[in-house]
Each structure stands twice: as structure tokens, then as C-alpha cells.
Symmetry: C2
Subunit: 159 residues, 2 copies
DNA sequence: CACAGTAGACAACCAGGTTGTCGAACGCCA
DNA sequence: TGGCGTTCGACAACCTGGTTGTCTACTGTG
């Protein structure tokens, strides 16, 4: 075999970082400073229906307390609003603000632009094949983004 | 395009996690509990010549204080030793113990086994092609494993 | 031989997770 | 109707793993 398992892991991590860091930088340049991937992910979940803290925690595979902290940041930044749920007085209903929706759109656009750049570099068909194989390998192992950061924080062998 | 940029990022992250989490679990099962990727990475750097805290910090793209904390753990576990450097009294020279070397070997073996399983699943040639394309895309963007965990901690869109 | 720079120790701090506890509200069921 | 287990969100304490800043000892160079 030409490559080691450690190299493979490192390649995957580097690819991910390369996409995500570029997105973070782009968004910062567009005026959304301190906007982190986890914020984008949380807002996406909110937009997809996780409109209260407990549910958001479940979707992010994180405790509801951790979710509440993220929500506090999003509220502070004006990306979401929180108001009483008329049907369940225990809940606070979360909603994206127009500003929040626009961050989400821009994030997606930047990520998409990066993907298109990759497609130009190796060819659209090659990129599609890469995605196809990866998704076969990963299978149903859905990633839990917020999850214990200490799992998968490094790689092994960085050169 | 069939897939979004967010999906691509998620695939890469999931692939990485899948490899690394399996390795961590395997090592734990083999008696190396609480052995984390960052430990493996640090030991690898030490073995590769980063035999003092400051240098280790540089290789891991982390402050020397952070490196010192990792070293403290490795010392405590008996994976490395630290003794005076005869040529520079400021330095403490780090060395892997036989135990440390064996963890490293086992970690590499487990990772390699995972890679071979992947090769069986999609074919060795396909896997090699995937690695080749990824490495073209990633290019010289060397990953900094220990680095700010908040970069690249999430993906975007988890289903 | 002075002095700028480096190694490592120590302390304070911060971010972002965790668990545990609590009061209020809900929903089911006798 | 009422009781009771469950859920929501808040709050507090704590842990981990980074950070910066400061200090002393030592090095090596002009």
C-alpha cells in the first residue's frame, strides 16, 4: 500500500478544515466576525424545525444546557429571536431573524463556491466520484458535530 | 451539482471521525484507556525529533504551555520520560518509553487495519484514487491538529 | 561581558462542553 | 378531578484543553 492509515485520516481532516476554515474566513470578511461553524450548524437545525433548546440539543447531540449557551450567543448577535410558545408555556420558541437567514445563505454560498473550485481543479466527475465513494465508506455514520471535541481532534502524523 | 458544499464538508469530517474514533475505541479495548488522538500525535512528533516542550508546541501549532500539559499527561501515563539535556541546561529532553513506542505501534496498526477494511469495501484502486484526488485538493495545506478547536468543529447540515 | 532571546514553570483566564438540581408546566390515567 | 411521572428551561458547579502574561535560569552572540 502506498499510504498509511494515518495519512488517510490526515487527508480527510485537512480537506474538511480547508473547506470550513475558508468559509469562516469568508464570512468574517463579509462582516460576520466570530461566526463559527457550530453557529451555522445550530441555525440550520433551528431553521429545520428544532425551535426550542431541548430539541436543538438533541439534534446537535449535545446537552440542552450546551444548546442553551449557543442560543444565547445567537440571540445576542441578533441571528434568532426567542418568544413564548402559545401552545406550551414551558417552551421558548426560536425563530431565525432575517439577519440570521442571510448569514445562513451566505455561508452556504461560500461553501458551494469552494466546492465548485474543487470541481474545477480535479474535474466535476472526479469530485462526484470522490463524494460517492466517501459516502459509501461513511455509510450511515452520521456525524455529531457538537459532540465531544476530544474525539477526533487530531490525526496522527502531520508530515 | 448533485451535492452541496456542506454535504461534502460533512462527508470529509465523518470519514475522519470514523477512522479516528475506531482507533481510539480499539486502543481503549486493548488496555490503553483515555488515550486520545492528540496523545498519539504528540508522541509521534516526539519520536520524530520534537524532544522538548517548546519544539513540540511548534510542531503541534500550539503554545508551549499547552504542549507542556500534554507532556505532563504522557509522563504520568509512563509513555515518555523527561531528563536533563546535557548540552543545554534550560531544556528537558523527552524520550519515548518502550510502553509509549508500543502504543504508537498499536495505534498505527489499528489505523492501517481500518484503511484496509476500506480498501476491501470499495477496492484498493478506488481508495488510492480517492487519496490521490484528496491530496491534490488539499495540497500543501498541512493540518494543525492541536490548533484552535473552534475552527472546524462542526460541519453544516447533518442529514 | 552585556544583553537579547529561548526554555520551562506557574498563574490567571476563557470557551465550551458536562452533570446535577430545581421550579413550573404538561399530559396521561385512574 | 386530581395525582404523578416527564419535559422544559434556568442556574450552578465543574472539567478539559486551550490561551496570554510573567518570571527565572540559561544560552549564545556582538
Amino acid at each position: 500500500m502506498s499510504r498509511s492509515g494515518a495519512d488517510l485520516a490526515l487527508l480527510l481532516l485537512s480537506g474538511y478544515r480547508s473547506l470550513v476554515d475558508a468559509t469562516t474566513d469568508e464570512l468574517a470578511a463579509q462582516g460576520f466576525a466570530d461566526f463559527r461553524p457550530v453557529h451555522e450548524f445550530a441555525m440550520r437545525a433551528i431553521a429545520a424545525g428544532a425551535d426550542n433548546a431541548s430539541e436543538l440539543g438533541r439534534r446537535l447531540s449535545v446537552s440542552k444546557q450546551a444548546a442553551a449557551k449557543v442560543i444565547a450567543v445567537l440571540l445576542d448577535r441578533g441571528y434568532v429571536t426567542r418568544d413564548a410558545d402559545p401552545r406550551d408555556a414551558r417552551r421558548k420558541r426560536l425563530q431565525l431573524t432575517p439577519l440570521g437567514a442571510s448569514v445562513l445563505r451566505q455561508g452556504e454560498a461560500v461553501l458551494q463556491a469552494r466546492r465548485e473550485e474543487w470541481a474545477r481543479r480535479i474535474g466535476a466527475a472526479e469530485l462526484a466520484a470522490l463524494e460517492e465513494r466517501l459516502s459509501v465508506l461513511v455509510g450511515d455514520a452520521v456525524v455529531r458535530p457538537g459532540a465531544p471535541a476530544w474525539r477526533g481532534d487530531d490525526p496522527a502524523e502531520a508530515r
